[in-house]
Every structure is written in structure tokens, then in C-alpha cells.
């Protein structure tokens, strides 16, 4: 008696198919669905303080866009923009596909005047991010995290960096634009030292906080959000940049990298030209090794959104060349905010392919030490054809 013997199925290569990394988004904001979600992540004694989270002003009413702040299609049924993992996954990785999203939790901005509480909140945000967006919501490993710190207490901030520094999900430290002194001041050194210890870049994103005179400039307060949104970040970033250079911070931490987010990049060239032009005279008391432009090239990167444009599209490539965007600029979308730049349309078409490649992913890939390829996952299968 014979019996039919079917062909033994061949064992499939269990290596997942890989695709090349083509888009890294350096500015994506996520939130808890409700700030109450942070409570279990707070350490004692804060966890048990009645109404603590409810009393933290998580947003400030000044300098807000009349447009509402969020992408109109990014509001979930429950919770704020950037808080629904299904919606974020769909919009980030399927609708306008991105390979890696660098997360900057919007929920922690240094909203209290009590540095101990700020440190506790930062710590809770990190524990929450690690547990949710870097674990539960991150089966595909497309989210990359940022360590939040309380900048007003640099020693505690350094400890927080040490706590998460070797966690594979956290690839940078995120700070706001405000401190009572520019950040080259020695009081802040423990932070840069800790970041350097773990090879973590510093991402600076402007944001409101309780201790800062928001919108106040060297000549009084700004009147309009348009002024605030176009000037406040570049002006603060310039002050910190000059301060890091002049205080020798980059000489002390040769590997330190700083990414300026949502502050544009065109401003830096004229700003640094002014410092550079007189460097032999003005820098003589500082005893530094390099010139300002060399420090920028070695230590500073800029994120694109809101991308700077030119009324004359033929001239825009020149603008990018003049600002050395090839080496210094990294793509960002600012998802899920109203002025989101989609990766497929962010860069002007007139840029050469090599510059586009470097801006869209390669510069960021090197800074964050991310792989060149990643496994195909459900988002790709959901139709995110590129």
C-alpha cells in the first residue's frame, strides 16, 4: 500500500526582508492620553501628593497660534494630538512613510518653578516613554526616544541621563531653549558631561516653561505669535551656540553634538560670520582651538521644519549651499503640529540628490548611530509604498 507523501515544506529563511532607511524624522511629538497617565511613573513622595498632576500647568496661554496648534487630521477621539499610537503609527509610517521617528515628548517642558518637582516630572516622563512609546507601542522599533531632564537642577539632570543613558531606546537628551544664563556657563557642565559619557546628542527644542520670561527679548517682549515663532528659537539658539563655543564646552567634550530643532538654519551663517570675522581679536582671551565655523561644523546640526523657502525657487538651492545644508541639516516634520512638513514634500526639488539624501536621513543616521536598513514590518505591508 502506498500512501501519498506530500512535499515537505521548505523551511523559510526566517530572516526578515530588509529595506533601506530613507527618512529619519528628528522632530516628532508624543503625549500621554491624559497627564494622569504619568502618576504611576512618579516616584515617592510625588506619586502620593493629591492633585499634583492636575496642578501642573502643562501649557502656557501666551504666544499661541490662532490655528489651534495641531494638524487638523491628527486629533484622536480621546486625548490630545500625538497620544494615540494607532493614529501616530498610521500617519508617521504609512501615510507619508518615515523609517524612524525621533520622539520629543511634548508633555514635559519644565512647567514648574520647583526644581525638585521638575526633576521628578522629567523622571516620570522618561519612565512613561520607555514603557509606552519605546516598548508597548514599539513592536516595530521605529520610535527612538529622548531623555527629558529638569534643566534647572543640572546635578539631578546628569543623574537622570545616567539612569537612561544605556537604554537602547533613548538616543538623545532633549532640552528647552531657556536657562537663566546661556548654556556654556559652567553650572550646566554636568549635563554635557553626562551626555558625552553616553554618547548622546543634545536636542534643543524651544518651549515654554515656568521660570522663563516667555517672549521677552533684549529689547522687551514681542507682541505677536508670528514674531515669537520666527525669532525666539534662532535668537536663543544663537546665544547658546556662542556660549558653548566661547566657554570651551566643545573643547572639553569633543564628541558633543547639538541639534537645534524648529529654529531654522539660514540664520546661523550670518551670526557665526560676525563671530568669525573678529575672532582673532575677540577670541584672544578665550584660548580656544578652533574658529567658530569649525565648531559649528563639528558639533552642530539643524532640523529643517519649518523649512526655509525662497520667493524665487531657482535660488533656493543656492541658499542651501551657502548654509552648508549638505553637512549640517537634518529632516524634521514637527508631527503632529499644524505646520507639519511631510517628508515627501519638505525639500525643494532643486536640491541635488546627494544633498537630499543627507538631509532626509544620512546626517541623522550618523548622529544617532541608527542602522542603514530595517526589517519590513506591518506598516510597510499596510501600503506604505515609497
Amino acid at each position: 500500500m502506498t500512501t501519498a507523501t506530500l512535499e515537505r515544506p521548505e523551511v523559510k529563511d526566517n530572516q526578515l526582508e530588509h529595506v533601506d532607511i530613507k527618512v529619519i524624522d528628528t522632530d516628532v511629538h508624543v503625549e500621554p492620553r491624559s497627564f494622569e497617565e504619568l502618576i504611576p511613573y512618579l516616584e515617592a513622595p510625588w506619586r502620593d501628593v493629591p492633585n499634583l498632576i492636575a496642578s501642573v500647568p502643562f501649557s502656557r496661554p501666551t504666544y499661541r497660534t490662532l490655528e489651534g496648534g495641531g494638524r487638523k487630521d491628527a486629533y484622536p477621539k480621546v486625548g490630545d494630538i500625538g497620544s494615540d499610537p494607532d493614529m501616530v503609527g498610521q500617519q508617521m509610517f504609512v501615510d507619508d512613510p518615515t523609517d524612524y521617528a525621533i520622539l520629543l515628548p511634548w508633555s514635559f517642558r519644565g512647567f514648574t518653578v520647583d526644581p525638585r518637582l521638575d526633576t521628578a516630572l522629567a523622571s516620570a516622563v522618561n519612565a512613561w516613554l520607555a514603557d509606552t512609546w519605546l516598548s508597548k507601542y514599539n513592536a516595530e522599533n521605529r520610535y527612538v526616544g529622548s531623555i527629558s531632564i529638569g534643566i534647572d537642577d543640572p546635578i539631578a539632570a546628569a543623574k537622570e541621563i545616567d539612569k537612561w543613558g544605556e537604554h537602547p531606546g533613548f538616543r538623545q537628551v532633549v532640552i528647552g531653549h531657556y536657562g537663566p544664563r546661556p548654556f556654556g556657563h559652567p553650572i550646566y557642565d554636568p549635563i554635557w558631561e553626562a551626555a558625552a559619557r553616553h554618547n548622546l546628542p543634545i536636542a534643543m527644542h524651544f518651549r515654554g516653561g515656568a521660570t522663563q520670561p516667555l517672549g521677552w527679548t533684549s529689547t522687551g517682549p514681542l507682541q505677536y505669535f508670528v514674531e515669537y515663532h520666527s525669532l525666539i528659537a534662532p535668537m536663543a539658539y544663537g546665544a547658546h551656540l556662542a556660549s558653548w563655543i566661547c566657554n570651551g564646552v566643545f573643547d572639553r567634550h569633543p564628541e558633543m553634538k547639538v541639534l537645534f530643532i524648529e529654529g531654522g538654519f539660514l540664520w546661523f551663517q550670518p551670526f557665526i560670520d560676525r563671530l568669525e570675522r573678529h575672532w582673532k581679536k575677540t577670541g584672544q582671551e578665550l584660548g580656544l582651538k578652533k574658529t567658530p565655523h569649525q565648531y559649528v561644523r563639528d558639533h552642530i546640526r539643524f532640523a529643517t521644519q519649518p523649512i526655509e523657502e525662497n520667493t524665487d525657487p531657482h535660488k533656493i538651492a543656492t541658499l542651501y549651499e551657502e548654509a552648508n545644508a549638505r553637512e549640517l541639516v537634518m529632516f524634521s516634520s514637527d508631527y503632529p503640529h499644524y505646520d507639519y512638513d511631510p517628508p515627501s514634500k519638505a525639500l525643494p526639488r532643486s536640491l541635488d540628490p546627494e544633498m537630499k539624501t543627507r538631509i532626509m536621513y544620512e546626517n541623522a543616521r550618523v548622529i544617532y548611530d541608527l542602522p542603514k536598513t530595517r526589517p519590513v514590518d506591518r506598516f510597510d505591508l499596510a501600503g506604505g509604498a515609497r
Partner: protein
């Protein structure tokens, strides 16, 4: 023809203090360049006596072939007491008039600026009236750091007076400090090099404020010159403001054009030393988004150390473009210089 739009005669401590007069004069005036950020070198390119001398400045202008020079001395910072501030502004104007404009060494080269104290608009308007009938005064001079942004309504009558009387508004750092918010919005930097690099920021804030608050929209004749801000620094941030205005114009419905359009229409920039090394300076047009050769006016910033030398200004531009920067742009932009030059040509 060559016009130097940025000559900064130094008002000596003794003469200035005397001109301020009792009871507002100080036993000792604050130092010219402030107390906080000490430069590791001398910030004057000539001796203090030469910086204070009409004859020496006239000789400098002759040596650089300058036909007209717009003089704007500083007044050692923002004076908080409004009566005292008014006395200081008037003293500066009186000294400029008597010692400089009326001096025989001037040989008709010196043109003046009406210094205003920004604490009190009514007093500032009276100060304009005091001097503006003399057509040698071609501009108002206001400090870049004025504790408030120039788009605020409280300043509007000053800008209206400037537009009505054909006076340019010259925004210029007034160095020293009596009352002093930090030079950056994130506090006091540690070194002179930083402070010097950050100075143009206040001018950028004022420029943006003029545009966004609608001052240029309401005063089509208003003309503003920035003394310490390079055209490139201004444009690089104005391009950014263009973008923000596109998405947030609902907030400022009176702004009917791109911010950079107002910039080109209403604003000029004194040449800065950093223009020499800027990649944006390689061509007169087409870099950083527009025709920059029509937006710069030559100013040496004599006797300050960080001025621009005529021979170093925009070295790669065509002779024609450089000529516009040395004279034509100023003649077109300053109404009172235009009348003077056309009267001279027709005589």
C-alpha cells in the same frame, strides 16, 4: 560720490556731562562701551581725542574720499529717568549741532542725527521739532535696545513725524548701560565675544516688529536704516518670518505683503565687516533671496574698531553695484540727502 552713513563721533565725558547740565549730569558718566563686557583690546580705532575732534573726523573723511557723512553719536545707554533722558538727548543734539555741524572743519560734509530718548514720546516729538527745520539733520537716531519693540503703538507718533518730515529712522546700538535687560533672551553671556556677536539680535527684533505690527503698512513713506545689522542676518531671519506669516497671517491681517517685501521697500542696512567673509556676499543679487545690492548703504562706523573699510566692502561685486552701495542707495533712500544732492547738481 561717496556717502558714509555711519560716523559715530564720541561725545567726551566732560563736554557731554557739562552739556547735560544740572541737576541731571553725573559726577562721572558711564564709560562709552559699558562696564560689563570688557574687550581684550581697544574698541576705538583712533585715540579718544581724535574720536572727539571734528577736525580729525573731517580729515578721516577726506582721506576716504567721502562727500557726505551722517553723524550719530551715542549717549551711553538707556537712561531710566525720563527727565534725565530728555536732557541727555538734548545735550547730544546740542553738542552735535554746535560742535560738529557748525564747525568750520565740517566743510559741508557733516550731516546730523536727532537723538531721541524713547522713554517719553511727547518729549521725543518736541525734540524732533527743535531740530528738524535744519535740513542738515537727515535722520532720527534711536537705540536698538529700547525696553520695548518699535511696533508698539506708543512709538507710532515718532515714526509718523519721521515720515512727515522726510527723516530716516536710524536704529543704532547705544553701547553703555544704565538700565540693562540681558543682551540675550537667555541671560547674560560670559564674554565680550558673545556679547558682540549677539548685538544684532535687538535690531532684528525691531525690524520684525516694525513689519509685523504694521508700521510700514500705515506709513508708506517711513524709511528705516539699521546701523549694526548686516543685510544677510536680517534677510536670513526675514525669510523665516515670511514662512511664519504664511501660516499665521490670520493673527496679523494688516500685513498684506511678505515680510521680506516690506524689508526691501522700507529698510536699508549699513555695511558690516562680516559682509566681507559672508558666502552671501559673493554676488550682489540672487544669494540669500534677493537683490542685496540695493539694500546696503556704506557706513564705516568710524571710529569704532569693528567698522567696514570701503576697499573691503563687497569685494566681488561689480563696480556698478559697489557704487550703488557707496552713494546711489543713500541718495535714493534719505529724502534730505536726495534734496541736497539734487540742489547741488542743479546749482
Amino acid at each position: 560720490m561717496k556717502i558714509d552713513c555711519a560716523i559715530h563721533p564720541v561725545l567726551g565725558s566732560v563736554e557731554f556731562n557739562k552739556a547735560i547740565g544740572s541737576p541731571w549730569n553725573f559726577l562721572k558718566l558711564p564709560p562709552l562701551f559699558g562696564e560689563k563686557y570688557r574687550s581684550p583690546f581697544d574698541q576705538l580705532s583712533v585715540t579718544p581725542e581724535q574720536a572727539m575732534s571734528p577736525a580729525a573726523v573731517a580729515a578721516y573723511l577726506r582721506s576716504t574720499d567721502v562727500d557726505y557723512a551722517v553723524l550719530s553719536p551715542t549717549t551711553r545707554g538707556y537712561w531710566p529717568n525720563p527727565q534725565q533722558a530728555a536732557a541727555v538727548a538734548r545735550a547730544a543734539n546740542t553738542l552735535l549741532f554746535k560742535k560738529w555741524l557748525e564747525s568750520s572743519e565740517s566743510e559741508g560734509r557733516f550731516l546730523g542725527s536727532i537723538r531721541l530718548a524713547m522713554n517719553d514720546t511727547d518729549t521725543a516729538l518736541r525734540e524732533i521739532d527743535r531740530w528738524a527745520d535744519d535740513d542738515r539733520f537727515v535722520q532720527l537716531v534711536v537705540p536698538a535696545r529700547s525696553l520695548a519693540t518699535f511696533g508698539e503703538q506708543r512709538f507710532f507718533p515718532i515714526w509718523r513725524a519721521a515720515a512727515e518730515r522726510g527723516l530716516v529712522v536710524y536704529v543704532h546700538d547705544d553701547f553703555s548701560t544704565l538700565i540693562e535687560p540681558p543682551p540675550s533672551q537667555v541671560g547674560f553671556p560670559s564674554f565680550f565675544a558673545e556679547d558682540h556677536a549677539l548685538r544684532p539680535m535687538a535690531s532684528i527684533v525691531q525690524l520684525t516688529s516694525f513689519i509685523i505690527a504694521g508700521v510700514f503698512e500705515r506709513l508708506p513713506e517711513l524709511r528705516v536704516v539699521f546701523g549694526d545689522l548686516s543685510v544677510h542676518a536680517a534677510r536670513s531671519l526675514a525669510i523665516r518670518t515670511d514662512k511664519d506669516w504664511q501660516s499665521d497671517r490670520m493673527e496679523v491681517p494688516w500685513v498684506s505683503d511678505d515680510p521680506t517685501t516690506y524689508l526691501a521697500r522700507h529698510v536699508r542696512f549699513v555695511t558690516q565687516a562680516d559682509d566681507e567673509i559672508s558666502p552671501h556676499s559673493k554676488a550682489a543679487t540672487g544669494t540669500i533671496g534677493g537683490d542685496n545690492s540695493s539694500l546696503v548703504v556704506y557706513g564705516s562706523r568710524h571710529p569704532y574698531w569693528d567698522g567696514a573699510k570701503a576697499e573691503d566692502v563687497f569685494p566681488t561685486w561689480s563696480e556698478n553695484d559697489r557704487a550703488r552701495c557707496f552713494a546711489d542707495n543713500a541718495v535714493e533712500f534719505y529724502p534730505r540727502i536726495a534734496s541736497r544732492v539734487s540742489a547741488e547738481l542743479s546749482s
